[in-house]
Each structure stands twice: as structure tokens, then as C-alpha cells.
């Protein structure tokens, strides 16, 4: 005991922390958007595609969901260059996060698609809607509405998981913390501040998601 907390070196490097925070936000939103695209494609492939495609999607989802993110990012950053795929740390981080969240979101979106009653699609056909319209308005929109809470809590989990990309020297918030820590030796203080910033980010994210939900799905249910 008798430890004297010293937050001065942490706040002296606050611009560094802000840059890291901004990178974490960019990585998170980038992976959310790209991961959702991956997930929609995979979910459609799994519900409507031919058997080999379904099998491929299953393999992707099971491998990602049953191995740690840390190993996935090691594989993408260290092993892929051996077969000629080279990426900067930040790009590798974005790819790894996208691949990771894509697998989890695939399962979520698939559940949403399967919750749409067959009669809805038949009604759309009877009304003369085109395939694209049926997919967009009859399948995806209600499906996304149903699974929105599950999907967004997965996104917040993604943002927290993104702290792991600091191990491949990406320049995110956790990496900024490691940097300041190794220069100032105020490890505990640095990580308290960093953890607090992550906490604020997760509060901010859930606030933002609630706002989007109110605007995007602001129509009454039919039942």
C-alpha cells in the first residue's frame, strides 16, 4: 500500500488517447458495416443457397465462433503474409474484426430471416412486387427490426473486443494506452483512464443505437 496515484502523465498525453479513441471508433464502425454486409450475404446463402454454399457458410461461422479472436488476428497478421497477403496493422485489424463479427452477425441475421413467415413473401409475390423489393421490404426490414437488439449488443461487444488489435501494433485506444504506459510507467493510471474511455464509448454506442432504432423502425407493428 502507500501507492501514490499520478494521473498527470496520462493527461499530458491526452491527444494521443484521443487519436486512439478515434481509431477505435473507425475500426468499430468499419467492421460493423462490412461485417453486416458479409453477414447478410452469408445468411441469405445459408437460408436460400445450394448445399455446398450452405456448408461453406456453416464452416466459416463455426470456425470463427469456436476460436479466440486473438488467434484469428494472429493468423491474419502473421500467417497470411506467408502466402503473399500482406496488410498494415490497422488494415489487418479491420479485416480480422470484420471476419469475426461477420460470423456472429450471420447467425443473428439468419434467425431474423427465418422468423419471416412464408405467407409474407407469398403476399408480396401476389401483390406483384419484384424480387429485390420483396427481399428489401418484406424480408430484410422486418427481420432487421426483430434482431436489432441482438445485433447491436453484438456490435458493442465488437467494439470492446477491438481492444485486442493492439497486440499487432494497430494504433487503437488500447495501443495508445500501451504506448503511454511504456513511456511513463504509470500503468495502473493509464489503464484506468483507458477503461473509462471504453466504458463511455459503450454508453455512447448504445445511446446511438437506441436513437437509430427509434428513427429507422418507427412504424407500428401490424399485430
Amino acid at each position: 500500500m502507500g501507492y501514490e496515484f499520478n494521473f498527470a502523465p496520462v493527461f499530458a498525453n491526452f491527444d494521443h488517447l484521443l487519436a486512439g479513441t478515434w481509431m477505435t471508433i473507425q475500426l468499430s464502425f468499419g467492421a460493423m458495416l462490412l461485417g453486416t454486409v458479409v453477414a447478410i450475404v452469408c445468411a441469405v446463402g445459408k437460408t436460400a443457397g445450394p448445399a455446398p454454399l450452405r456448408w461453406a457458410v456453416d464452416t466459416y461461422v463455426e470456425i470463427i465462433r469456436n476460436t479466440p479472436f486473438l488467434i484469428q488476428i494472429f493468423f491474419i497478421f502473421f500467417a497470411l503474409p506467408a502466402v503473399g497477403i500482406r496488410m498494415t496493422p490497422n488494415v489487418a485489424a479491420l479485416v480480422a474484426l470484420t471476419v469475426n463479427v461477420g460470423a456472429y452477425a450471420t447467425e443473428i441475421i439468419r434467425a431474423g430471416i427465418e422468423s419471416i413467415h412464408r405467407g409474407q413473401v407469398e403476399a408480396g409475390i401476389a401483390l406483384g412486387l419484384r424480387r429485390g423489393q420483396i427481399f428489401r421490404y418484406i424480408i430484410m426490414k422486418p427481420a432487421l427490426r426483430t434482431i436489432y437488439p441482438a445485433l447491436t449488443s453484438q456490435f458493442i461487444y465488437l467494439m470492446l473486443t477491438s481492444s485486442v488489435v493492439s497486440v499487432i501494433s494497430a494504433t487503437d485506444l488500447a495501443a495508445a494506452g500501451n504506448d503511454i504506459q511504456s513511456r511513463t510507467f504509470a500503468a495502473f493510471e493509464v489503464y484506468i483512464v483507458i477503461t473509462a474511455i471504453y466504458f463511455l464509448l459503450s454508453i455512447g454506442f448504445s445511446g446511438l443505437f437506441a436513437l437509430v432504432q427509434r428513427r429507422a423502425f418507427n412504424y407500428p407493428l401490424s399485430r
Partner: protein, 218 residues
């Protein structure tokens, strides 16, 4: 000098599986105790206890596990315990497991019909007997599938202990990779070992969930 990846390298990684398992077992055991306390606090009649448990959960679910690991690791050092990756990882993962199991089990306790509690209350059972003999056994049945599912998340979470220097599977992989420069084989192998640990549990959880859904369908 670059070492080729041979049988000794393979065995080094394979033996590290025991540390991944040991950490998982410790965290799960500690997390089961902590989780039960948190779940009971969350459904308690005492408001401050409820809010304290909720605050604890929000705090831990709103911050990265990696940062929790760092805070425990450096915190132990500050409070005079010294640098001890094994202890730090065990504490941080136990807290992590407590919070998640607490939330899962809280849901299971609340899924037991209120009438069960009311009936045991009417029979004059006190809190301890009501929980032990009426509510928790019924909640436990619902809890098995999601608990097994969480076990997968916990095993994967132990890989982060490698970052604070605890030699489990991931760290063993890094050590071998630094000596052999064969990341494809090394991380492919480590990924495969995690998969072998986690996949059966995932399948088991899903199967139990499905069976339970069929059993409770009305």
C-alpha cells in the same frame, strides 16, 4: 537460428492446453460462486443490493476483458502482491465469468413462474429453503444450455491471459512461432486445438437448447 517445426514444438503447444483448461476451470468455478451471488442479488427484494449488482454488471460488460486483465495485473503489483500473471488472469476471468453467469442465471431464476415462489411463501418456507428447494432447482434446468454456451466464450477468453505473459495455449504458440517462424502451422494448430475444445461444447449447448425448446413447447 530458425528451428524447424517438429514433434517437440507440437508437444510444447499440446501440453499448454492443460493451462488453458486449468484457467478455464478456475474461472468457471469462481464464476459459478460469484455468478450465483450476483444473480441472487439481482432478484433480491433489497433495492440497494439490486442496484449494486446491476452497476457491477454494467461496469464489467461495458469494458473490454483485456483492460480488466491489465487493471488486475498492474493493480496486484501496486497493492504489493507483485507480478503474477497466473493470479491476475484467474482473478480477472473469475470476475468476467461471475458477471456473465450472473446475468444468465438471473434470467433463468426469473423464468421460474412467480406462483412457485408465492406457493412456497404461503407454505411458510423461508428465503433459504425457498431458493434451495423450489426456485433454484427449476432455474438450474433452464440454465444448463446457456451455461455450456458461456463456457465456450470463457475458454476463448483465457487466450487473452497470454498478453499479460501467462503461458497457456496462445502464448505457447507465440513462443514456438518466434523460434520457428512458421506462423501458418503454429497458429493453424493452436486454432485447431481451441476448435477441438470449443466445438463439442457449442454443439452440446445447441442440442440441449433445442431439446429444451421442444420439451417446453405448449
Amino acid at each position: 537460428m530458425i528451428r524447424p517445426f517438429g514433434i517437440n514444438e507440437f508437444l510444447f503447444i499440446l501440453f499448454a492446453v492443460q493451462w488453458t483448461l486449468a484457467l478455464s476451470v478456475v474461472a468457471f468455478t469462481g464464476g459459478a460462486v460469484g455468478g450465483l451471488l450476483i444473480a441472487l442479488a439481482r432478484v433480491s427484494k433489497v433495492a440497494p443490493l439490486r442496484y449494486a449488482a446491476l452497476g457491477f454488471i454494467r461496469l464489467f460488460q461495458g469494458t473490454p476483458l483485456l483492460m480488466q486483465l491489465f487493471l488486475v495485473f498492474f493493480g496486484l503489483n501496486i497493492f504489493g502482491v507483485g507480478i503474477n500473471p497466473w493470479l491476475a488472469a484467474a482473478i480477472a476471468l473469475t470476475l468476467h465469468a461471475s458477471v456473465f453467469l450472473g446475468e444468465i442465471w438471473r434470467g433463468c431464476i426469473q423464468a421460474v413462474p412467480v406462483g412457485q415462489s408465492e406457493a412456497s411463501w404461503a407454505l411458510g418456507l423461508r428465503y433459504y429453503d425457498r431458493m434451495k428447494s423450489i426456485v433454484l432447482p427449476q432455474a438450474a434446468k433452464i440454465a444448463v444450455a446457456p451455461t455450456v454456451g458461456f463456457l465456450v466464450q470463457l475458454i476463448k477468453g483465457t487466450s487473452l491471459a497470454s498478453i499479460i505473459g501467462f503461458v497457456e495455449m496462445t502464448r505457447a504458440g507465440q513462443i514456438i512461432n518466434n523460434a520457428t517462424f512458421d506462423p501458418f502451422t503454429v497458429f493453424g494448430l493452436v486454432a485447431a486445438l481451441y476448435f477441438i475444445l470449443c466445438w463439442p461444447l457449442s454443439i452440446l449447448a445447441r442440442r440441449m437448447e433445442r431439446r429444451f425448446a421442444v420439451a417446453t413447447r405448449r
